[in-house]
């Protein structure tokens, strides 16, 4: 199937199209942060602290007089980067472990018991513990979140591998002399792309929320780096007087996470017609 045709089918549902547009806007704002905002995100102006949204400060200012729109735009870079790296890392490791566990029966139990053990911790608690041990930095947040989400991917990929490995074309590939490594890489992995893609979009969304939660709890990104999470965390005590200081970053989080979830739903429905609801 050609790419434009896939997109056309995907966007036939308006809500998926809307989600894609929202996401595109968020990404563009983050990418073009230095062009579309007139302020340095860390430039303080105490005289204008906690200013309500005005023409010069579109989303108002925070407790140190920093322009909120600039901070959300620049913060988006960090938040989206952390989430993207988390999704990539979790998918890479999760797919590897899931494939190996699903294909080689001897390794199935050892890998999956470790996965079960890791999944028995509540997500956010495990991440908090990891960052608390490793120390707060952007890299450690990504590392902790990758560790949290890898088991989830591994489980999904293993389940799909168990199905695909028994299909006759795998045996047929073996019968034409294809090696095990090549069977895994060339014959099984491409057949797992739909569950992997769906997982990727969900993990991206979870990671945005998780990073915000970690930063809010003070075990995430160091406060000097503007992310949506650190912004909510830093300004929460002023929310009573100046609602906008938490409203706009919170809105950015919700908008991005929701868009990603809806997009993930759309991709899943497209790839798995059995789950498709009547439109």
């Amino acid at each position: 199937m050609k790419i434009p045709l896939i997109l056309k089918k995907l966007f036939r549902r308006r809500i998926v199209l809307g989600a894609a547009i929202c996401l595109l806007v968020v990404v563009l704002v983050a990418l073009l942060a230095n062009v579309i905002t007139g302020y340095d995100p860390n430039e303080t102006a105490v005289s204008q602290r906690l200013s309500a949204p005005t023409a010069s400060h579109l989303m108002g200012t925070d407790e140190l007089g920093r322009d909120l729109f600039a901070r959300i735009a620049f913060g988006g870079r960090y938040s989206l980067t952390i989430a993207a790296l988390t999704a990539i890392g979790a998918i890479a490791f999760g797919t590897l472990f899931g494939l190996v566990a699903g294909f080689f029966r001897r390794l199935d139990a050892p890998i999956m018991r470790v996965v079960d053990a890791m999944m028995s911790f509540p997500d956010i608690l495990l991440a908090i513990a990891l960052v608390a041990i490793l120390g707060p930095s952007m890299f450690n947040v990504v590392l902790a979140l990758v560790l949290v989400y890898t088991p989830r991917v591994a489980r999904v990929v293993r389940a799909s591998t168990l199905v695909v490995r028994e299909l006759l074309f795998v045996e047929a590939a073996r019968a034409v002399g294809v090696s095990t490594a090549r069977i895994l890489w060339r014959h099984i992995l491409p057949n797992l792309m739909s569950p992997i893609l769906v997982q990727a979009s969900f993990i991206f969304a979870y990671a945005i929320l998780a990073e915000a939660a970690l930063s809010f709890l003070g075990v995430g990104v160091p406060p000097e780096i503007p992310t949506w999470g650190t912004m909510v965390a830093g300004s929460q005590q002023y929310a009573h007087d100046a609602l906008w200081v938490v409203l706009f970053p919170g809105f950015a989080i919700i908008l991005t996470a929701l868009s990603l979830q809806l997009l993930g739903d759309g991709v899943r429905d497209l790839l798995d017609p059995r789950l498709k609801k009547s439109m």
Partner: protein, 354 residues
């Protein structure tokens, strides 16, 4: 033990005392027991038997495709003579050497054309993969070769089909693609595991005709695994009948159909409507509607095989001695063997079934 299907030519494949066990939770299952047969160059040997008789396990054992984690035990010899005239024991070859043989010297066609093609690749890519692995061609050359193979198996609009995915093809078309895939490296032995079972009758005939033409043109040998006796009669040169993991009778095709020696073979042939009709005419019976003959009972469980002949509980000619020991596979005429004490007692069994 070895069936005397020998001919002056060197054999393409000479299987000797092949046994395959599965170690399951319920116990050791002897799925294939002491199977010996051979395939002559350019000829077709059919392996016939009902479901569960060990036909497919035999072919998978020969190709060493049974998964190693199933606690499978395979013993015996499978002497294969390759293009260069070297004779190799397939069951003792190291895995990399075996991989060079699979798809190259020995190709395989499976029963289900619907699932034996990878849904995410075009058929051209799948044929090209085998060609690239074994013939070392680059992508473009391999695709060109794949196109020639599709034309060879008479797929219309082959150039267009080359770039289509398996779901865009019909069942018969997919089986043609599977044959093209199997033929891509010009194999010396083709193992066809019920290649036409999933297809309707007209397509079956086309596919069989195609395989016969390719055999004529390339001189390959075919191991034809089937339960369809009609297909065997038309397409095989030699036949080995399997029952409960053992060969019960082996003979050249004409001899087998003309005078089946083993009661199981006789029963199988009696199950054919045409045979029944012939018998009725010969006996002067004219009653219109009669039930088809069926072999009574069912195959014994592989976990609790009868102590004597495996077919004894179902056999109309069973004697007391049949319960005691498994009869040996013994000569039953020129180039043929049978595993039945009635045959080995030199008194040719009456071909009439009760």
């Amino acid at each position: 033990m070895k069936p005397s299907l020998t001919s002056p030519d060197p054999l393409r494949l000479d299987v000797r005392n092949l046994s395959t066990f599965f170690d399951t939770d319920e116990g050791l299952i002897r799925s294939v027991a002491d199977v010996s047969f051979s395939i002559r160059p350019g000829k077709t040997t059919a392996l016939v038997g009902e479901s569960g008789s060990g036909k497919s396990v035999t072919s998978l054992s020969l190709m060493r495709l049974l998964s190693r984690t199933d606690s499978t035990q395979v013993s015996g010899q499978a002497l294969f003579t390759n293009r260069a005239g070297e004779t190799l024991n397939l069951l003792a070859l190291p895995e990399p050497a075996m991989r060079r043989i699979r798809g190259n010297e020995i190709a395989m066609i499976f029963q289900e054309p619907m699932t034996s093609l990878n849904p995410v690749f075009t058929v051209g890519e799948q044929i090209a993969e085998s060609v690239r692995l074994h013939m070392g061609l680059d992508r473009a050359a391999a695709l060109a070769h794949a196109l020639r193979m599709l034309e060879l198996v008479e797929i219309p609009a082959a150039a267009q089909r080359l770039h289509e995915y398996p779901h865009q093809l019909s069942g018969g078309m997919r089986q043609r693609v599977m044959i093209a895939l199997a033929m891509a490296c010009n194999p010396t032995l083709l193992i066809a595991d019920e290649p036409t079972t999933a297809l309707d009758v007209t397509i079956q005939a086309q596919i069989l005709e195609l395989m016969r033409r390719l055999q004529r043109e390339t001189g390959m040998s075919i191991l034809f695994i089937t339960h369809n006796l009609g297909v065997v009669a038309h397409h095989a040169d030699d036949v080995a009948v399997m029952y409960a993991g053992r060969i019960v009778e082996a003979a050249p095709v004409r001899a087998l159909f003309a005078s089946p020696q083993h009661p199981y073979t006789q029963g199988l042939l009696a199950c054919l409507p045409a045979q029944q009709r012939k018998r009725e005419l010969a006996n002067g019976e004219t009653r219109g509607k009669r039930r088809l003959y069926a072999i009574r009972g069912q195959v014994s469980s592989p976990l609790a095989p009868p102590p004597g002949c495996a077919f004894e509980p179902r056999c109309d000619h069973a004697l007391a001695a049949c319960k005691e020991a498994m009869p040996a596979l013994e000569s039953a005429g020129p180039q043929r063997v049978a595993r039945c004490i009635l045959v080995s007692e030199a008194a040719p069994l009456v071909t009439e079934t009760a």
